[in-house]
Symmetry: C2
Subunit: 148 residues, 2 copies
DNA sequence: ACAAATGATACTATTATGGTATCATTTACA
DNA sequence: TGTAAATGATACCATAATAGTATCATTTGT
């Protein structure tokens, strides 16, 4: 069982790359090269990210993608929502019938608690926080390397 | 996304029923009637539970199933392990290649934490604890306490 | 006009899930 | 000792989700 599927994962990588370009427009072609994601699949993912208001796209020659909102405001829970639908660990298997077993509804409550925890944690994981540490490292290196 | 699939759920219901029979041998046919689970599917599930040492089966006329170990020692994590394989929320999507994106490995660490939490909570949910509340009610009703 | 980009969308392949179906084996007991 | 009642093993099938492909339409800078 995977919590994160491929399209969510690819989306996250793509977003991270775009963030690092600091506002520059990035094309799908570039992302394909850098991230080694199959082109048509990535294109579909980028289109979703555009529809969902995470990336802005510009069409035509010289077009591409850039961030639609601050990296801090893009979290894993939202991405999972887009590519995997609402995350419900809990989904009762006897929706329509009356649940034939009272015991399992006790189960439902306990799984609900776990679900709540997971959602809360996923919401905490935002793109900015994933990048922050590395950015610090980069700046340190920069500082040593280029003195001009 | 579901944390618990049907066979795990059915297995749990079946086990709960068997537990309530207090050591009596229960047949697949009985379980089919009471739990309204498709017969061949339930049979397969029961066979798994037998193989995995959760139920003991006796063959032949008058045969059936009973618990192989105390209800307290059967937990959801084990059942999920049997029917859904080891639960890994985390599964890195770039196992063989070097991970092209260091950022995502920070992600891995954060998801690992969530996974650890989830596994710990699932291990806490055992059959005895799911039934305990109801058992208390039963005891109040028939007023004869033969616990020891 | 044309090349370079994205948008929309329909199709396909693979895998996991949720089952069925069948035959073999064991056992109680009439 | 034969048969019905039970489980064991296993191969098969249907549906849905995931992971992709393919194609054509649209926009835009030069």
């Amino acid at each position: 069982m995977k919590l994160i599927t491929r399209n969510t994962d690819y989306a996250l990588r793509a977003i991270c790359f775009v963030v690092n370009q600091e506002g520059r427009v990035v094309t799908a072609g570039e992302l394909v090269k850098k991230l080694r994601i199959p082109r048509p699949f990535l294109r579909k993912i980028l289109q979703s990210l555009n529809r969902e208001g995470i990336l802005v796209s510009t069409k035509g020659s010289g077009g591409g993608f850039y961030l639609a909102k601050p990296a801090k405001e893009i979290d894993l829970l939202e991405l999972i929502g887009i590519f995997q639908g609402h995350l419900t660990l809990n989904e009762c298997l006897f929706k329509k019938l009356a649940c034939p077993n009272v015991k399992t509804c006790k189960l439902k409550k306990r799984i609900d608690k776990i679900e709540t925890m997971v959602l809360r944690e996923l919401a905490k994981i935002n793109v900015a926080s994933l990048l922050s540490e590395e950015r610090l490292n980069v700046k340190k290196k920069d500082h040593q390397d280029r003195s001009g």
